[in-house]
Amino acid sequence: METHASSGLPVGTRRAIAYVVLGIFTFLCLIWFYILLINATRSHAEMTRGFTMLPSTHIFENWENLVNGTIPIAKGFVNSLTVSVCSSVLCVYFSAMTAYAINTYRFKGRDAIAAFILAIMMIPGQVTVLGFIQLINNMKLDDTIIPLIIPSIASPVTYFYFRQYMASNLPMSLVEAARIDGSGEFRTFNTIIMPLLKPAISVQVIFSFVGSWNNYFTPALILHTDSKKTLPVLIAQLRGADWLRFDMGQVYIMIAASIFPVILIYLFLSKYIVGGITSGAVKG
């Protein structure tokens, strides 16, 4: 694409308009997190007096009050981390394995299976959640984090991404060379294929981690004991608490603790993430 045809306005004006509009949307995206950050540093008393754009000094005090309060935030943090790490590792490893099976081997029913996984890809988990909860109850896994981890082994979206990636980045000659060297199929996958998938793996680990970290619907239905809850469930609990009697400093620091870890990861890895969004979707 060399040039677009010139519209009525001169390029300089159009560029200026573009920057102004982009500036507005940048502001719209960031202002909420800026206020969050500021308010997380202010005490409840300061906040009732009005809003200022400058931070205060109470951030550690707010954090301590929260940790020593009624909501088990530290435990929630650990629970969220455990669920997200375990499910993203399982999700990525087994999705790559599934994609490798479809990509590498020519077996009966392969096309039908590939079409089937593609067809179920968009069906949301919410439509089966009723049966899922009953199953979890029957398996005596209610109020545990296991049902939040194991199902991520079957993740059609991640599979789809790996399959696209393998189709263009994985030469079959490599697999054949490994066979001639006497490497077993399973060992080939683990020691030769997986390292080659590193770029795809890092993108998908992040997406899977974030998806799991942010997940609220299913954990809210499965986790009942306070000490087992993940962060989104605790946030909902905070929302349900007696609002007027609550220390707003604690509210803001809790929201900040749920949001900022993901923002930090994102800022370090945004190059890969933004590039990874399009790879799983259609191209024109």
């Binding site: 909420w32 479809i102 081997y105 179920i120 949301p124 066979r179 962060l231 989104p232 949001i259």
Partner: protein, 303 residues
């Protein structure tokens, strides 16, 4: 010789099935069996009246009929669609404009990486925490009201959460903020993929900018548009976290922000498995049909 080599390949190809075992085992246990039992439940009267369980008693399609003949579900579907459309229209419009600017080489926009990083960021934010944040910011004594009063725009706090329009607009705004960056990047990838010689030829023929946009850019982007529209609709029908947290699960004011999935959640927490099942099956059918469209786009791509 030929026989031997095909035998070896066949032996290797058996590994295809072995590598598929984890996926299918987990899929069957945690998705397929739950789906089957959700459908099974939908044919039974099974709920709690106080502490006593009514049923389970087989009643055929009665739950399905009862659900569609109750005015609530139509109201909730309406709420869901209104809030989805209210977020989607600005989302696709803004995304289209931004993607067009990003891809226009004559503009030579600087800092594209920065802008893309910023506008995509809200997509990764925990929706429940984002919603909680909006609830705190737009509370009666929250910072937004404080600012508006100190700037003398308002005399007394505006009660956002008591206004149907304001509550819905806040939900639409959050949905918009969470998704417009994602859509921008998808559309941008499509626009950058368009062959530049098409534009040159059009310019040589004396086409205007708007002609080029509507006759070349838009038709080529059509599959991406359909993809974005359908996936966004599927996502919109699942709208739950944002309104659930913002209104503490009550859909306030006056049930105007209760979505279909919030309603499903109410059935599940009150253990009304019959009606919950019927609602799930309806949602399954609708999202199934919509998925089929996405499926066809995705398969068409590979030719």
């Amino acid at each position: 010789m030929a026989k031997k080599s095909s035998g070896t390949t066949a032996r290797y190809n058996r590994w295809g099935y072995i590598f598929l075992i984890p996926f299918f085992l987990v899929y069957v246990i945690f998705s397929f069996i739950p789906l089957a039992s959700t459908i099974y439940n939908s044919f039974f009267e099974n709920y709690y009246s106080g502490l006593t369980q009514i049923g389970p008693k087989f009643i055929g399609l009665e739950n399905y009929i009862k659900l569609l003949s109750s005015p609530e579900i139509w109201k909730y579907l309406g709420n869901t669609l209104i809030m989805w459309i209210g977020g989607f229209i600005p989302q696709i419009t803004v995304a289209l404009i931004l993607a067009y600017w990003f891809s226009d080489p004559s503009l030579k926009l600087k800092g594209q990486r920065f802008f893309k990083t910023v506008i995509y960021m809200p997509n990764l934010i925990m929706a429940s925490a984002f919603s909680m944040l909006f609830f705190a910011l737009f509370a009666d004594a929250g910072p937004i009201n404080q600012m508006l009063i100190s700037l003398h725009i308002l005399k007394e706090p505006f009660k956002f959460m008591n206004s149907i329009a304001a509550s819905r607009i806040l939900i639409m705004l959050m949905n918009f903020l969470m998704w417009f960056g994602n859509t921008t990047i998808l559309l941008l990838a499509g626009m950058l993929g368009i062959d530049g010689s098409l534009y040159e030829a059009a310019e040589v023929d004396g086409a205007s900018a708007s002609q080029i946009f509507f006759r070349i850019t838009m038709p080529i982007l059509r599959p991406i548009f359909i993809y974005v529209l359908i996936t966004s609709l599927i996502g919109g029908l699942q709208m739950y976290d944002v309104p659930q947290i913002l209104t503490n699960g009550k859909g306030t004011p006056a049930g105007s922000t209760t979505t279909v999935i919030m309603n499903l959640n109410q059935y599940l927490t009150s253990k009304n498995f019959g009606m919950g099942g019927a609602l799930s099956v309806y949602m399954f059918i609708i999202t199934g049909i919509l998925s089929l469209v996405v499926f066809r786009i995705n398969s068409a791509k590979k030719d």
